[in-house]
């Protein structure tokens, strides 16, 4: 039976691969519809921009929408591996989807390059030699925010995040680098859109600063309501509530807020300048950090393909580890757990003409790795 199905699948594979055997097939599962679609679309557009800018015509990218649902993502991954026969997978935005998909992808011997989600469970004991994260470990931007708050001399922060794993990691990350007092610590509901109760508590707490991790629409709601409340304490957050896609919806309420990011459009290097210019020309909007992550992921893949084919797993892995590509972030290297070692910047929201965007005001953490790398062994 086993032999029979083996023969059958080999025959099918031979049928399916009409193109030459050396072609590379990339499976991208990302969020293209529903509330979080902006992120997936940016990752996809950045990724495809890099593919089209390279001269390679032998890379085929299969793109599917996961609807932000773990069960859908798992089905798509199985389909891509079993019937599409992809060599490399990428694209997932959300940590809960990443946890559902990545371990099974790597267990089946495929490579996974994460352009966004970096859950702690996959960075420490659960790391895998075929899993690379090109964006950040989830805690990184929060650690940078904590470091910035410490540097800015804040002594009494009020911190809040949604009550789910990435939210808890966020507050842990902030507290790892911040060493002042906490005026309050609140877990909000995931998907909450009204923050009147939390803002009243902030007002009553006597805090000197506010740190929040509320990605996407939650952050828009919080910032607008916070600005309208007249509390007026300085706010720090990770880039997820201040990316290019969101800022226009927040408007003046975001001006002057400090946020932390591993990328910004004004990082001074030739790759980044060309990326920002070509992205804008191609898609008619400014790129976000997600777009830069998609772009870097594709360029990492292309650089590794220059030296090895994924069928030769050891050589391909070594080529990925070398990270021999020009990142939009400038210096880029992988740590021992295949997560980035990189600078993380503090940015400030400004207005350029009619467009709200970010400007780098300093480096929050230099050559920063993550706290879980020590637990990882392949």
């Amino acid at each position: 039976m086993k032999l029979k199905s083996l023969i059958l699948s080999t025959a099918l594979a031979a049928l399916a691969s009409g193109a030459s055997a050396d072609d590379i097939k990339v499976g991208m599962i990302t969020t293209l519809s529903g509330g979080g679609a902006g992120l997936g679309i940016d990752v996809r557009d950045g990724f495809m921009l890099a593919i089209s800018q390279s001269d390679r015509t032998d890379i085929e990218v299969v793109i599917e929408d996961d609807l932000r649902k773990p069960d859908v993502a798992v089905q798509l991954a199985d389909k891509m591996i079993q019937s599409e026969k992809v060599d490399v997978m990428t694209g997932i935005i959300w940590s809960n989807l990443a946890m559902a998909v990545i371990p099974s992808v790597t267990a089946q011997g495929k490579f996974y390059l994460s352009p966004n989600a970096g859950p702690s469970a996959l960075a420490g004991k659960g790391c895998h030699k075929n899993y690379f994260n090109v964006a950040w470990q989830n805690d990184n931007l929060h650690e940078a925010a904590g470091a910035y708050a410490k540097g800015a001399g804040y002594q009494n922060s009020f911190i809040l995040a949604p009550n789910y794993p990435a939210g808890q990691d966020a507050l842990t990350g902030y507290k790892r680098m911040y060493d002042g007092e906490l005026a309050g610590e609140i877990f909000t509901k995931l998907g909450q859109t009204d923050y009147a109760a939390e803002i009243a508590q902030i007002r009553a707490s006597g805090a000197d600063s506010v740190y929040f991790f509320l990605p996407g629409g939650m952050g828009i709601s919080f910032l607008k309501q916070y600005a309208d409340s007249g509390v007026g304490l300085p706010v720090v957050g990770p880039a997820f509530s201040f990316d290019q896609g969101i800022l226009q919806a927040v408007g003046d309420a975001a001006l002057g807020v400090v946020n932390t990011s591993q990328w910004n459009k004004d990082i001074d290097n030739a790759t980044n300048a060309a990326f920002v210019e070509t992205f804008q020309a191609e898609y008619g909007r400014l790129p976000s950090l997600y777009a830069s992550q998609g772009f870097d992921t594709a360029n990492l893949l292309i650089s590794a393909l220059e030296t090895a084919h994924p069928d030769d797993a050891d050589a391909f892995r070594a080529a990925l580890e070398a990270a021999n590509f020009d990142s939009t972030r400038g210096d880029f290297a992988f740590g021992p757990n295949h997560h980035p070692i990189q600078d993380i910047y503090a940015r400030e929201v400004i207005k350029e003409g009619d467009i709200y965007t970010n400007k780098i005001i300093g480096v929050a953490l230099e050559n920063h790795s993550d706290a879980y790398a020590v637990d990882c062994s392949f």
Binding site: S33, G34, G35, A37, G38, I41, N163, Q168, E185, I186, F187, T188, K189, G191, T193, D194, A196, A197, A200, Q201, R203, A204, G216, G217, M218, I220, S221, K224, Q225, D228, S229, G230, G245, I246, Q248, A249, V250, G251, D252, A253
Partner: protein
Amino acid sequence: MSTILIIEQVLNGLQSGIMLFLMAAGLTLIFGVMGLINLAHGSLYMIGAFAAAAVAGFTGSFVLALIAAMVAAAIAGVLVEMLVMRRLYATDHLDQVLATFALILIFSEGTRWIFGSFPLFLDIPDYLSGPVNLPGGIQYPFYRLVLICVGLLVAAGLGLLITRTRIGIQIRAGENDREMIAALGVDISKLYTLVFALGAALAGLAGALVGAIQSVQVGMGEPVLILAFVVIVIGGIGSIKGALIGALLVGLTDTLGGVFLPQLFKLFMDPSAAQSSGSALASMAIYILMGAVLIWRPTGLFGARP
């Protein structure tokens, strides 16, 4: 915990409850009068917010934006009623759920197709923004006070409409006995379209009012829809009074639970664990409330007794 903070939180609870009422009122009318489960009610809320954002961006007027929100949602409601719902009145609830769920997907992707995937900008006008000082030294956002007043006005208007006008009599009669009022010569299909448009306009108004302090994005209606269903189950299906009381109960439970449960847990747990388990329990609070009400009164607070 100071008195000021408690009063402020009660105001917050009232405000979120009263906005929930605008959603729940339409939902309960449509279910009560037509016996129809409309899952796409959240999409009408979203349409209101997007229409308001588009018109506010174009004209700069918040009042025009609110009018546009109600008109756009009402038009969408009428279209949905005439093209889809009419065929489903005679079928069972499962067919209605399937069809209206399909409508959610169509409206969501249609909105994305027109407006793109990124959230839209809709802000409070200057004359309504900023905090005001209430007696007792309470600072409270002016806009939220306006929301409470608008909501109460709409509730009063709706109450008058239902109890004092001819249309109101027909709506109440329709809830009790559909065949009989048709036999008495009331154009039942026109009445249904009217009720649907009214419910949709209220949802659109809520979407626009709330959209100004939250984010206008695809899918914003569904979380509110779930709460609105909780409200009409608590209040009793078909009852406007029940929807108002239910909405205020849900708003207050949700807001006060989120603030006070973690504080309560801190009395006997360490702060971090208290915060996390307190918030977890707080997000269940309204469902516990709903369960308790259903045990006490299986048809809801103001539902028809079997």
